[in-house]
C-alpha cells in the first residue's frame, strides 16, 4: 500500500505509515482498555514501515511489547511487538492518527471476551477470545503490568 501521513491530536508528532493491509483491528484487552478508554483500534504495519518525528515516549508495557505516545498531548501512537519471533518489530498503529481511512474495514476483534457487556461493534469481524489469541501467540497475558 501507499505510505500515509498522520499526526497526533496536538500535531507535535507526525508520522508516516505504510499499512500492511486495508484493515483495522480492535483489541479489547484490559491494558488496551485502560490505555484508550475502550478498544485499541489499530492498523498493522511491518517493522521499518513506520517513521515518526516529534516527542515520542515509549514504555515497555509487557515482556513482549511496548507502547508509544505523544509526550505533549498523550495521544496513543502504537503498540509494537518486542519479543523475538515472527512478529518482532511489528507495529499496530492507532487508526485514529491516519486521516484517510476510506475503504478500510474492521478486520477482527481480539480479546473479545474482555469487552464489557452493554456495547458491541456491529458487523461480522472475526472475533477471538483471550484464550484463543494467547494460544495463537503462545503467551500469557497476565504479565502486562506496565511500569508500576
Amino acid at each position: 500500500m501507499a505510505a500515509m501521513t498522520g499526526k497526533c491530536m496536538c500535531g507535535a508528532v507526525t508520522l508516516t505509515v505504510i499499512p500492511a493491509e486495508q484493515m483495522i483491528h480492535a483489541c479489547h484487552c484490559d491494558w488496551c482498555r485502560a490505555w484508550t478508554g475502550s478498544a485499541f483500534m489499530a492498523v498493522k504495519a511491518e517493522d521499518g514501515d513506520v517513521s515518526a518525528e516529534g516527542p515520542v515516549k515509549t514504555l515497555a508495557s509487557s515482556p513482549w511489547a511496548e507502547r508509544s505516545w505523544c509526550d505533549a498531548c498523550g495521544s496513543g501512537l502504537w503498540y509494537r511487538v518486542t519479543a523475538p519471533g515472527p512478529y518482532h518489530g511489528e507495529y499496530h498503529v492507532a487508526a485514529g492518527l491516519l486521516p484517510d481511512t476510506a475503504g478500510f474495514t474492521l478486520g477482527s476483534e481480539i480479546y473479545h471476551d474482555r469487552k464489557p457487556e452493554g456495547w458491541a461493534y456491529a458487523g461480522d469481524a472475526k472475533k477471538m477470545t483471550k484464550a484463543e489469541i494467547e494460544a495463537f501467540f503462545g503467551m500469557s497475558g497476565e504479565a502486562e503490568t506496565g511500569a508500576e
Binding site: S38, A39, G146, E148
Partner: protein, 136 residues
C-alpha cells in the same frame, strides 16, 4: 469508584453517581485514543489520589484532557468552565458496567466502524444541548 491508568502511576476516585457513558466520535478523540472515546460522566467530579504523572493538555478553549505521562493512558476530558464535571475513561475504571446513554459528535464518525446499540446518535450541537439539560 476507583480508577487507574495502565501503569498505575495515576490513581483516582470518582465522586457520586455516574450519569452513564457517552461514546464520542469526534476527530480529536479519535486522534487521542485511536477510535471512539468512551467516557463516563461524573457530574460531581474526581479526586486524584496519585497525580504526580498526570499531565493536562489544553485541547481547545473550552476543555482540557488529562493523561498519564508515564504510560500514555488517556484518562480525563474536563470542561474548563465547570471543573467538577469530569468525563472519565471507561477503560480506566476496570470492569465496571455502565449504561451507554448516547453517541456524540456523530457527524465526525468515520465509516470503518459502527455500533450495534440503539442509543441516540447525537450531533455535536444536539449532544451539548442534551448534556446541558441533564439527559446524557
Amino acid at each position: 469508584m476507583k480508577g487507574r491508568c495502565l501503569c498505575g502511576a495515576v490513581q483516582f476516585s470518582c465522586a457520586g453517581q455516574p450519569r452513564g457513558v457517552a461514546i464520542c466520535h469526534c476527530g480529536q478523540c479519535r486522534e487521542w485514543t485511536s477510535g471512539p472515546f468512551m467516557a463516563v460522566f461524573f457530574p460531581d467530579g474526581v479526586t486524584v489520589e496519585a497525580g504526580d504523572h498526570l499531565r493536562w493538555y489544553k485541547s481547545s478553549e473550552k476543555a482540557d484532557r488529562g493523561f498519564c505521562a508515564k504510560c500514555g493512558s488517556s484518562l480525563f476530558f474536563r470542561s474548563r468552565d465547570t471543573e467538577s464535571r469530569w468525563n472519565v475513561s471507561a477503560g480506566a475504571l476496570g470492569d465496571h458496567l455502565f449504561e451507554i446513554k448516547a453517541h456524540a459528535w456523530v457527524e465526525d464518525q468515520p465509516d470503518w466502524y459502527a455500533f450495534a446499540d440503539d442509543t441516540p446518535r447525537l450531533r455535536s450541537t444536539e449532544f451539548r444541548a442534551a448534556r446541558q439539560e441533564g439527559r446524557v
